[in-house]
């Protein structure tokens, strides 16, 4: 697209300008700053022992701490988790100051171009989009309320489908989202659950403009509440009271009841539980995978050059975020529908969740991480540190479980 070429030109121009002035540009590197060891910590510590004569009794090597120490400092310089909770850094500049670290006057031509860009985005695109957004939402509320008056039946559901699709498509235009859907033959069907990676609330609009889903979420007050109640009239969604969210059995029961009814639409769930910045897929919460029905995985990947879709909820509120979205160039994303998956014999919910997560990560070209997205706000659980300690103890003394099967680590007899 013409836009992308303009961006490339802009970046090259900036680099050339900087070199002429002999200044250093801050170049973002998305692949990490430092070279990390490819062997695991366990192997590294064992290597020290293997090189010597195996001692009859557990030996503590004072150099063991080097490995722990270095890895600790490596994680201070660059770690896998914290960088997922801020917007991705771009290699080329997309004429939006908000995503640029280097903006100072390099060339008149570039500044003029940027100025034109600002004008176009704020004076032309933004008002247009806001109007469309209001129209879309307003229509949604009005139409669904009207349809809610009809008796349940085939007419109602097909009308509801058309109304929903139309309103979501208007909203998509409001964001100028250019979406490419791949493999539509795998689109989710009734009686299943659709899972996708989560980057922003816009994910919902993107998926819902191509198919009808039952939404899951908390009941909100205010405008959101009005929208939720209206949608509920036209077709069954699952809205939870805040108090009900804590009760996992209740949640699971409602979900499985919905799925069991084949006339109801597939449920849309984001198992990560929070917004991640679209460079990786983090741990899937196992709740939705315990229900035992068909899972339709969907991978969503945004093209960051046209506008960063990630919602950093600790930095920006919802309105701020929507304004950002509507005043950037647009949203370009790809949606891949993956073939449906079922839980296999002997696979528990966690393994199934990880399998689905790996498939989504592979398709979308995202990193597959085991870390919990909840780490955005909470501290990491102590149990992971205990695992590291257990691993080291094993290397130190060798594990031997006694006859009761307890985890006491004992080495050969002491003096």
């Amino acid at each position: 697209r013409a836009c992308a070429d303009v961006f490339q030109w802009a970046t090259l121009r900036m680099e050339r300008g900087a070199r002429e002035k002999n200044q250093q540009l801050y170049k973002p590197y998305s692949n990490g700053i430092i070279a990390k060891e490819l062997v695991s910590l366990e192997q590294e510590i064992q290597e020290v022992r293997r090189s010597g004569i195996p001692a009859p009794e557990p030996e503590f090597d004072m150099s063991d701490i080097f490995s722990f120490c270095r890895r600790g400092v490596e994680s201070i310089v660059d770690d896998e988790v914290t960088k997922r909770f801020t917007a991705e850094e771009l290699e080329s500049w997309n004429l939006l100051t908000r995503s640029n670290y280097n903006f100072h006057h390099i060339s008149t031509r570039l500044t003029v171009l940027w100025g034109v860009g600002v004008l176009v985005r704020y004076a032309i695109l933004l008002p247009l989009r806001v109007t469309l957004a209001f129209t879309g939402v307003g229509l949604l509320v009005v139409l669904t309320s009207l349809i809610g008056l009809l008796p349940n039946g085939w007419v109602k559901s097909s009308l509801s489908e058309k109304a929903h699709l139309m309103c979501y498509r208007i909203c998509v235009r409001a964001l100028t989202a250019i979406i490419t859907y791949h493999d539509s033959e795998n689109k989710p069907k009734n009686g299943g659950i659709c899972v996708a990676n989560h980057t922003s609330p816009i994910d919902v609009i993107i998926l819902a403009s191509d198919g009808c889903y039952a939404m899951v979420g908390q009941v909100h007050g205010g405008l959101m509440g009005v929208i939720q109640r209206a949608m509920l009239k036209a077709c069954p969604h699952i809205w939870f009271e805040r108090s009900e969210v804590k009760d996992r059995h209740l949640v699971a029961k409602r979900l499985s009841d919905h799925v069991a009814d084949k006339t109801k639409l597939p449920i849309l769930i984001f198992p990560e539980g929070t917004c991640i910045n679209n460079t990786s897929v983090m741990m899937f919460k196992k709740g939705s995978f315990e229900i035992g029905c068909t899972v339709y995985p969907v991978a969503i990947k945004y093209d960051p050059r046209f506008g960063d879709a990630f919602w950093n909820s600790s930095k920006f509120g919802m309105v701020n975020y929507l304004l950002h979205m509507m005043s950037s160039w647009g949203v370009v994303c790809s949606v891949w529908y993956l073939p449906p998956m079922r839980r296999e014999e002997g696979e528990d919910a966690v393994q199934f969740a990880n399998r689905v997560k790996a498939a989504i990560a592979r398709k979308g070209g995202l990193a597959d991480l085991l870390w919990d997205g909840g780490l955005k706000r909470e501290k990491v659980k102590k149990v992971f540190k205990e695992e590291q300690q257990k691993m080291y103890s094993k290397v130190l003394v060798g594990v031997s479980e006694d006859s009761h099967g307890s985890e006491v680590v004992r080495g050969p007899a002491l003096e």
Partner: protein, 196 residues
């Protein structure tokens, strides 16, 4: 972002003048400043212990607390960017020094000796230049958690001190420490290589 840039420009100027530790490249400093800034949630130009503990991979490291401690000078709760860089400078690969032989700078922070001293200080909490049995036990306990009994851990510690102690004072001095580790490739184990 523009704010980050102007602050970093001043800091870079400062660093160029005062950074006498070892030649760190411009882009590396900028990268590390950006990292420092992203860890600094309070945006006050200094990191506290909580800022470090927010890194999950560090929080699960058994020696995490000791490593964090190494960044903070005696009795202080905040570390600024200069202090941050100073501690990280210990981990620069040794080969880089060959290119910049500066007779005035004294022993660089990332020499083998200074790397060993950094590790020694992880054990030696009270800074008396000796690793006592208790200090060794503390570190061992941090690394194994609850998985090894007190008696067994005690005997491991005793054995370690026996092997290292040459002057019979039942503790490990820095020179004894160096001797024990003379065959270990400290330079490689305690170095972090930048990709660019």
């Amino acid at each position: 972002m523009i704010v980050v840039l102007s602050r970093s420009m001043t800091i870079l100027l400062l660093l160029k003048v005062f950074f006498c530790f070892s030649a760190v490249s411009h882009s590396q400093i900028t990268r590390l400043y950006s990292r420092f800034h992203s860890l600094d949630k309070g945006e006050n130009g200094a990191l506290s212990r909580e800022d470090f503990q927010r890194i999950p991979e560090l929080a699960i490291n058994p020696l995490g607390d000791r490593i964090i401690n190494a960044f903070f000078p005696e009795g202080e709760d905040q570390v600024n960017f200069r202090g941050f860089m100073r501690t990280l400078a210990h981990f620069r690969p040794v080969e880089d020094n060959e290119k910049n032989k500066d007779p005035n700078s004294g022993e660089p922070l990332n020499s083998r000796n200074n790397k060993l001293l950094f590790a020694f200080r992880l054990y030696d909490l009270d800074r008396d230049d000796k690793i006592s049995r208790d200090e060794l036990l503390q570190v061992l306990r941090m690394m194994v958690g609850v998985n090894i009994s007190d008696e067994q851990l005690g005997s491991i510690a005793d054995r370690t001190i026996q092997e290292a102690d040459t002057n019979g004072d039942m503790s490990i001095s820095f020179s004894e420490f160096i001797k024990v580790l003379e065959k270990v490739d400290v330079e490689q184990k305690m170095s972090i290589r930048f990709l660019h």
